[in-house]
Structure formats: structure tokens, C-alpha cells
């Protein structure tokens, strides 16, 4: 994994984790990684372990919470779920993201034309 890519990823990955938890309810780390890969159609193929840094960050900010539970193959697993504050943050960030993404998209298409 090279550095420039990971830097871009940090913010977006957090956002994707939140989105996945909002959409699918409580998930363990593997589940989250799997969903993100599926939804992004493997476009963001990175080490799945990166997800855990993102989870710790989100926990610290109080946007998600964690509880131990049992996975589908009967293993002890930590299940993460989005908190109310997390939902609020996701909504705000989604709007923000769309605005920036739109702006960047327009910018890039402008460059292509000239």
C-alpha cells in the first residue's frame, strides 16, 4: 500500500465504514471489509486490516460503538454499530462529500475540454 493512496483513503474509508454500518446494521470487522469491497466493486482493494484503524478512530469520536458477540461461524467477534452522533456526522459528511466530489468532477471535465 503506498502512502499517497492511504492518505486519501483515511477520510473516505471512515466514511465508507459509517455508511456500511448505517445501511446494514451491526457488523464485525470482516463483515465491514467484505461489504466495502463488494460495494466499491473491489476498486479500493487494500489490506483489510486498514479497516481496524478506521474503526478505532470512529470509536474514539463516539460515532460508532462496539460490543462482543458471536460470528456466523461461532467465533467471538466484536460487532460495531453506528451511533446517533455517527449518523448525524455521516449525513453531514455525505453532503459535504457530494459537494466536493461534484466540484472536483466539474473541474476535471473542464480540464479535459480545454
Amino acid at each position: 500500500m503506498n502512502d499517497s493512496r492511504s492518505e486519501i483513503l483515511q477520510g473516505t474509508l471512515d466514511l465508507m465504514v459509517l455508511k456500511a454500518l448505517e445501511a446494514l446494521g451491526p457488523l464485525h470487522g470482516y463483515g465491514i471489509a467484505r461489504r466495502i469491497e463488494q460495494i466499491s466493486r473491489d476498486a479500493l482493494r487494500v489490506n483489510q486490516g486498514t479497516i481496524y484503524a478506521s474503526l478505532v478512530r470512529l470509536l474514539q469520536r463516539g460515532w460508532i460503538s462496539a460490543a462482543w458477540g458471536t460470528s456466523e461461524n461461532n467465533r467471538k467477534a466484536k460487532f460495531y454499530s453506528i451511533t446517533r452522533a455517527g449518523k448525524k456526522h455521516l449525513a453531514a459528511e455525505t453532503e459535504n462529500w457530494e459537494r466536493i466530489a461534484g466540484a472536483i468532477g466539474r473541474m476535471l471535465s473542464l480540464e479535459e475540454r480545454s
Binding site: Y30, A33, S65, K78
Partner: protein, 894 residues
């Protein structure tokens, strides 16, 4: 600063929680790997390959662990600040509780800060010199006697010459009182005569002009120069920079001011301001010391300060000194037999080297008493916190039910108690500063330029910080652990009523601890107070009531001995004629004045010193006719002094009974002869025996002591003693007027009653100890009472419902009283028993500073009774309230 805190906190947390969280994370990663492997197998990989692919997909576990740890560390800092703000909010919600807790802790911490800052000043804070850790004071022991620190100059020179390997320098120091005349009036100053290298040895620089230089001080009267201390220059010369080069007079001799010492340097003795410094050789000019002072090996007035060479330890220096001591003893068997030398670190040689040094023990005793008060304060606050935890039980239960981990709850509660402790600590520092200011303003001994300021340095603040941290954890940990152990279900269902029994037990332990602790404090305080009282009412052998003292030294305004003799004669005659004066006398020194003792080795005719022992060293006093009448010391045999006992007559002496018994046990002392070795060395005839009186210490065995006529051992320094008809203090203006009319401008010092004089110096340690211990004891008592009252009344209110039921079932008020009061009484009784055991131990530690026995029956009976009475009263009030409860009301309670 902030980053530092962040790192520190996360590291501490990392150490504590690391393993646990690492294991959790490991578990998480393992599950992840297993799930990934299964997925790979489902996709058709072979199991071995599937596992390998899964590992690759997840990434290096070690890196993941590391990244996880880093993030966690930072997280705890954020949580910490969140905890602090939450704690602050919670404390502000209950201002009554918060103030009570902060005040209690401030009292506890303040008392400790004050004690510590005194200990700091006495024992820990180094001299404001360059590398003060290298400074040592030399002392010697001769013929197995006690440790002495005044050396002769030849000895100092020999020691210096032979220890150059371990000491980079050696300087001499000697303090004295002198009269300094400047700006048209004379005043008494505490002066130091120093060798030329003294200031350079200490590494000090002048604030103005120059200091005494290494080349000075070796030749009699060669350098009539004086250096002022910074504080003295500021107060007496208004900080005038033109003072350098001015001529002032010292004891009537002109000396030139050459400079001002560095700011903050008060001399090498603690608690006094050494006001002026002169070259060592001026001592012979100013203090009638023999001109052979620098050659005489016998006895000597010099304290020796030395600086260890870099990297040389005190033990190495000591080894070198042992060799030198052995050599000196063999070279000078007459004066230096059985001679041993010691190097003592400067901080342990305050005010003078002593063996054993009692200062650390006293310091430890008071630190222990202070710690006791702090523990009592902590117990009180812990109690408050326990009660608070009960009333917050619901809140905590809800938080636990919502998934807040136990550790998290404990941390939140601990943060609250730490916040309380640090607020209390801040208050304690302010309080401690105030107490130290008060102590500094108390005048203990009017004769010395006392310097009782205890500036707060980093050690004191560090101590206060440590005390607050300790306090916060101590008061918080038990309540926090208890509160967090609560099963949420139980509390939410039962409204917190039936889960209090465990806490009740803990609170009972706290009450017992409080009663025991305050009993210990009070017993020690009472022992000091009893010692002080005993001292003051001790039979001293003289009558201290109605005696006024005033000291002076006419040589300070340049009087010759002949002039001074005339002056004293006239003063005595006129004093006796004063209307309110019964009798008057002049004496060189007064009882218990430790800084002007007169003592000498003596020869007694017909008495042979046992082989190997020094000649007897006996204290004496030079007194005028009328002395024994004025002091009311009864004459047992013979006669007292008369005006005829002058320097042209037969030299005479009067001995006390102890001396008569020691030297002439079976003979009539009258007519026997004795001789002082150093001063006024003629044979004297004993003409009288007086009864024993306490001249040196207020306690212990009375030692041999004798008196000689003032006229036959004249010194310019003397004290006028008046026995008055009315209160002694009322004669002060008359005495001052009398002296002023005879010698205008003569400084008069140590003016005060004999009562003040003996309590000021001889009893200083008892007074100081008694005041300090009493203050601590009272504080402890108040804290214990508040604690006992709080706990019993809370216990009673917890049982309100039970009491209501009992009364509804027909229990009489007296029975209810018995139940509630009985419970408190048992706790108080247990506390008293434990406290008595502790108090016996504490008293044994303090025994060497007490005059009364450490098992003084009065103290050990009266103090527990008083404490029991007040503690039981504190139990009784809530019990009586419980007794008056209306059953119907009680059942509806809660």
C-alpha cells in the same frame, strides 16, 4: 507541554491496559482471518493456500497491532479531557458537597505543605552557593566527648594542607555580635568573621563593590573592611549604592564598607540573617581575642567549611580525614589525643554539626503527624464521596446498563476525586503560604535577627502536587470501586435501598480509622503541651517572676573597659534607686540563653582528674553583688558577693550544691580553691554555696555551676537584671531611659522579662512543637468529629424505615436510642482502643523531645475520655433524632 501530558498519560494508560486491549484486538484479528479463510475455501482454494491468502489480504498483524496501540494511546488522552469536563460539571451541580470536600482537603494539604516547607528550609534546600552539594562542614571529637565544630587555626591549616586531594578548598567562619555605628547611631549586628577564601569557596559574587578576598584576613588588623549582607544593606542603608567606600564604625573602630553580598544569601546559619562580614583577622581587634589566636592550637573559634573536589564522595573525604586525624593525634598528643574528624554534608550540619542529629527525627515526627491529618481529611472526603455515590447510584447504574464498562466508570469517578484533590491542593498551597507567613511573623527570640521566611520553591510545589495526587487516589479509589461494582439491575429495581450494607461496613471502618487517628494526634499534641506546661512550672531554682533583663555592650559605641566599668557601676547604683525596683544586678549571661554560655576547664585544688580524661569543663556566670537576691537563689552556706570582691581583692567564687557535691563530697567547700584555665587564671577561694538552679537547660540533671564576681572577670557585654515590685514589663521604659541617660546611642537588646527570655530560647522547641502539634491535633479532632457525626447521622437516616417499623411494632424510643447510639458507640470504642495502641507508638517516637514521660498517665487518661465524650455526643445527636421519628413518617420515607 500539552504533547508531553498527552504522551505521559497514554504511556501510563498503555502500561496498565495494554495487555488487555492487545488480547482483545488479537481475538478480533483471529476471527477476521478465520472468516476470510473460510471464504477463500468456499471459492475453491486449498485450505493451506486459503490461510496464506487470508493473511496477505489482512496485512501484517504486527503492524496492525502497532497502529492500533498508537491510536488507543491518543484516544485515552481525549477521554481524559472528556472525563475532566464531565467531572467539573458534576462537581458544579453539588456546590455544597464540592466546597466541603475542597475545604477539608485544603486544610489537610495546607497543614502538610506548611510542615514540609519548614522541613525543606531546614533540611533540604541547599545554600544559595555554587554546587552546594559539594559543601561539607568539618567537626571533631576529642577523647570520646561530643561532636565539636570549632577548630583552632593551626589545626585547620594542618587539615587543609593534608587533604588537598579530596577538598578543593577550606574556609573558616565565625559568628559574633558586634555594634555597628553608621548614620550617627549604633546598632547591634550579627556578624561573621571569615577567611579570605570564604566567598570564593562558596562561589558567591557581590551585588555591589567586592567581597572579602582570598589575600585578606591573615594579618592582625590589616584589613579593616566590612561587607554588608544584601538584606541588611537594603533595610539599613536603603539600598544606597554610594555606601561602598564609606567608613562605618564597628565596636568603635573605623572600618570601610567594601561591598554588598549577593541577593538571597543570608549567611550559612539557617533562620538567622548574618548582617555583616569581616576578614577573620579582625576578630582579634573586635572581640578581645588573643593575638596568638592564629597560632594557638588549643581550642579555637573557627567553623570549617570545605568543598569536595569534583567526583569525591563524602565517604572518601572521611577516609582522608581519618588519616589526618590519626597523624594530628600522634604529632600533638597533648592537645589532640584521641582526636577524630568528621565531614558532614552542609544540609545535615544545620545549625551546627550534631551527633546524632535530632533534626531529621523531629522533621519525620511532624511529617508523620501532618500525614495523619491528611489521612483524616481523606477519610472524611472518602465518606462524602461514598454517600454521594449512593445518591448517584441510579445514574451510574443507567450508565452501566447502557454499556459503560466498569473501568470507564471507575475512571470517571477517580477523575472527579482527583479534580477535587487538585482544587483542594491549590487551596492547600495558599493556606500553607499563609501559615508559613504567620510562623515567620511570630517573634520567638528577640535577641537574634531571625529569618523565618519559608519561600516556596519547586520542592514544596512538587510535594503539594504529590500530596494532591495521593489524596485524590486515596479518597476516590474505594468509593469508585464500590460504586462501579453495582449490579445495574439491583439498583434500578430496589431504588438503592437494600444494597447499602456493604458500604455501611466500609464506612464503619472509616469511622474507626478516624477516631483512632485523631486520638493519636491529640495524644502527641497533649504530650507536647504538657511538656511545655511542665517546663514553665518547673522548679527552676530561681524566681523568674518580676525580673526584667536588658543587655548591652558599651564597647559597641567605642567604650574602653575602664569607661565601661564606670558606666556599669553608675548604672547599677541608679537602677537600685528607681522607685519600682526592689533590687538590681549585673550578670554576664542569663539562664537558658544558649548563645552566650561561659564555660572553662578548671583546676580544683586537691582534685585529680582521672587518667585519660580531660580536666573538668564547667559552666559559670560572672555576676555583680545583689545577683542572688535579684534572682532569689537561696544561699546555703557562706556568703554572697559584695562590692569588696573587686579585682584588687582575693579572687573568689560561689558554687552550686551540685558542684560542691562533685568536688568536695565529704569536705566543707568553703575555703577550697579552684582556678579557671583560660580566663582570669588566678586561684579563687570558694566563699559560698548556693542551692541548685537551672541555668542551662530547663530539664535534665543539674550540672555543676559556679559564679564569680563580675568585677573579677570583666566583659563589656552584660545584662542588667532588675527585680521589680510590679509587673516586670512595666519597668521597661524606666530601664531604657536610665541607660539612655548614661550612654546615649548605646544599643540595648534582649529587653524583656525573664519569663519571656526563658520561654523564648530554652523552650523554643517545646513551644514550637506544642503549637504545631496542638494545631494539628485540633484539626484532626474537628475532622474526626465531622466524620463521626456524618457517618452516624447517615446511618441513622438509612435505617429510618427500619426504625419506623420497629416503632410501629411497639419499640420504645429508649430502645431505638440504644440501637442507633450503640452502633456508633461500638465504632468509637474500637477506634479508641486502636488509637491508644498507635498513640503509645507515636509517643515513643516523640519521647526524646518530651519532658513528661511518653506514657504520661494524665494524657493517656484525659485525652481518650475527652475524645470519647465528644465523639459519643456526635453519635448521640443523630440517635436522638432517630428516636423521635414518627412511625408513619418513617414508613413513607424515601
Amino acid at each position: 507541554m500539552f504533547d508531553g501530558l498527552r504522551i505521559a498519560v497514554s504511556r501510563v494508560r498503555g502500561l496498565v491496559r495494554r495487555n488487555h486491549e492487545d488480547r482483545e484486538f488479537q481475538q478480533e484479528l483471529e476471527t477476521h482471518l478465520a472468516l476470510l479463510t473460510e471464504e477463500n475455501i468456499r471459492r475453491g482454494m486449498a485450505p493451506e493456500e486459503a490461510r496464506r491468502a487470508a493473511r496477505l489480504r489482512l496485512g501484517g498483524t504486527e503492524q496492525l497491532h502497532e497502529a492500533n496501540r498508537q491510536l488507543r494511546g491518543l484516544a485515552s488522552v481525549e477521554e481524559f479531557f472528556r472525563d475532566v469536563t464531565t467531572a467539573w460539571r458534576m462537581l458544579r451541580k453539588t456546590p455544597g458537597f464540592t466546597w466541603a470536600a475542597i475545604l477539608t482537603l485544603a486544610l489537610g494539604i495546607g497543614a502538610n505543605v506548611a510542615i514540609f516547607s519548614i522541613v525543606d528550609a531546614v533540611l533540604l534546600r541547599p545554600l544559595p552557593a555554587r554546587n552546594p552539594g559539594q559543601l561539607v562542614v568539618l567537626a571533631y571529637e576529642q577523647r570520646g566527648g561530643k561532636l565539636e565544630s570549632y577548630f583552632s587555626y593551626p589545626n585547620m591549616r594542618d587539615i587543609r594542607g593534608q587533604t588537598k586531594v579530596v577538598f578543593s578548598g577550606m574556609a573558616t567562619y565565625r559568628t559574633s555580635f558586634d555594634g555597628l555605628g553608621a548614620n550617627g547611631h549604633a546598632q547591634r549586628v550579627l556578624s561573621a568573621y571569615v577567611s579570605g577564601n570564604f566567598f570564593s569557596l562558596l562561589g558567591l559574587w557581590p551585588a555591589l563593590g567586592r567581597l572579602i578576598e582570598p589575600s585578606e584576613g591573615g594579618v592582625y588588623s590589616a584589613h579593616p573592611e566590612i561587607v554588608l549582607s544584601y538584606a541588611f544593606w537594603k533595610s539599613q542603608f536603603g539600598g544606597d549604592r554610594g555606601v561602598v567606600g564609606r567608613s562605618v564604625s564597628l565596636n568603635g573602630h573605623p572600618v570601610t564598607v567594601v561591598g554588598v553580598g549577593p541577593r538571597g544569601f543570608h549567611g550559612v546559619f539557617p533562620f538567622v540573617e548574618t548582617q555583616v562580614y569581616l576578614p577573620m583577622s579582625m576578630m582579634m581587634v573586635e572581640n578581645w581575642m588573643s593575638r596568638s589566636l592564629l597560632q594557638d592550637r588549643n581550642g579555637g573559634p573557627f567553623q570549617i567549611w570545605a568543598r569536595l573536589r569534583r567526583g569525591v564522595s563524602v565517604a572518601q573525604a572521611q577516609a582522608a580525614l581519618n588519616v589526618v586525624a590519626a597523624r594530628l593525634a600522634s604529632e600533638h598528643p597533648k592537645s589532640d589525643a584521641k582526636f577524630s574528624l568528621a565531614a558532614i554534608p552542609e544540609t545535615l550540619a544545620r545549625p551546627i554539626p550534631m551527633q546524632p542529629n535530632p533534626v531529621p527525627a523531629v522533621a519525620a515526627l511532624f511529617m508523620a503527624l501532618g500525614a495523619m491529618v491528611l489521612v483524616l481529611a481523606c477519610v472524611n472526603v472518602a465518606n462524602l464521596l461514598l454517600v454521594r455515590a449512593v445518591s448517584r447510584g441510579r445514574e451510574l447504574a443507567i450508565r452501566a446498563a447502557l454499556g459503560c464498562s466498569r473501568g470507564r466508570l471507575v475512571r470517571q469517578l477517580l477523575t472527579e476525586s482527583l479534580l477535587l484533590a487538585f482544587l483542594g491542593g491549590a487551596g492547600g498551597v495558599l493556606l500553607g503560604m499563609w501559615i508559613c507567613g504567620e510562623i515567620g511573623s511570630v517573634s520567638f527570640s528577640p535577641g537574634l535577627p531571625l529569618l523565618l521566611d519559608f519561600p516556596f520553591d519547586w520542592r514544596v510545589f512538587l510535594f503539594a502536587f504529590g500530596a494532591a495526587l495521593f489524596t485524590g487516589i486515596l479518597v476516590g479509589i474505594l468509593p469508585a470501586l464500590r460504586a462501579s461494582r453495582v449490579a445495574p439491575g439491583a439498583i434500578l429495581h430496589e431504588a438503592g435501598r437494600s444494597v447499602t450494607s456493604g458500604r455501611q461496613r466500609l464506612r464503619s471502618v472509616l469511622v474507626v480509622a478516624q477516631v483512632a487517628g485523631s486520638l493519636m494526634l491529640l495524644v502527641v499534641a497533649a504530650l507536647f503541651a504538657r511538656s511545655l506546661e511542665r517546663v514553665q512550672h518547673l522548679h527552676l531554682g530561681f524566681d523568674s517572676a518580676h525580673v526584667l533583663n536588658a543587655s548591652m555592650d558599651p564597647s559597641e559605641i567605642g567604650y574602653s573597659d575602664a569607661q565601661a566599668r564606670v558606666f556599669y557601676k553608675e548604672m547599677l547604683e541608679r537602677a537600685r534607686a528607681l522607685p519600682g525596683v526592689r533590687s538590681a544586678a549585673i550578670a554576664y549571661t542569663i539562664p537558658m540563653r544558649t548563645y552566650t554560655p561561659e564555660m572553662d576547664f578548671i583546676d580544683v585544688e586537691g582534685y585529680t582528674t582521672p587518667p585519660g580524661q580531660p580536666k573538668p569543663l564547667v559552666n559559670f556566670n560572672s555576676v555583680s553583688p545583689g545577683y542572688f537576691r535579684t534572682m532569689r537563689i537561696p544561699l546555703v552556706r557562706g556568703r554572697t558577693f559584695t562590692a569588696a570582691d573587686n579585682r584588687n581583692a582575693q579572687y573568689v567564687a560561689i558554687v552550686n550544691e551540685a558542684m560542691a557535691k562533685k568536688f568536695w563530697p565529704d569536705e566543707d567547700p568553703i575555703g577550697q580553691r579552684l582556678r579557671l584555665i583560660h580566663s582570669a587564671g588566678q586561684w579563687r577561694e570558694v566563699v559560698g554555696v548556693v542551692s541548685d538552679s537551672r541555668m542551662l537547660t530547663p530539664f535534665g540533671k543539674i550540672a555543676p555551676f559556679f559564679f564569680i564576681p563580675f568585677a573579677q572577670n570583666f566583659a563589656s557585654y552584660a545584662t542588667l537584671q532588675l527585680r521589680t515590685l510590679g509587673p516586670a514589663a512595666s519597668a521597661i521604659p524606666e530601664a531604657r531611659n536610665l541607660i539612655r541617660s548614661l550612654a546615649p546611642g548605646l544599643p540595648v537588646f534582649d529587653v524583656g522579662t525573664m519569663r519571656e527570655a526563658i520561654s523564648g530560647s530554652g523552650y523554643l522547641i517545646f513551644r514550637f512543637g506544642a503549637v504545631l502539634a496542638a494545631a494539628l491535633g485540633l484539626l484532626g479532632l474537628v475532622l474526626a468529629l465531622v466524620g463521626v457525626y456524618g457517618v452516624t447521622s447517615y446511618a441513622a437516616s438509612q435505617r429510618t424505615r427500619e426504625i419506623g417499623i420497629r416503632m410501629a411494632l411497639g419499640a420504645r424510643p429508649a430502645q431505638i436510642l440504644k440501637i442507633t447510639f450503640g452502633q456508633g458507640a461500638i465504632l468509637v470504642g474500637t477506634g479508641l482502643v486502636i488509637g491508644l495502641a498507635g498513640a503509645l507508638g507515636a509517643a515513643r517516637l516523640a519521647a526524646s523531645f518530651l519532658i513528661v514521660s511518653p506514657t504520661d498517665p494524665l494524657t493517656f487518661i484525659a485525652v481518650p475520655i475527652v475524645l470519647a465524650a465528644v465523639a459519643l455526643a456526635a453519635c448521640y445527636l443523630p440517635a436522638r433524632r432517630a428516636m423521635r421519628i414518627e412511625p408513619t413518617q418513617a414508613l413513607r420515607f424515601e
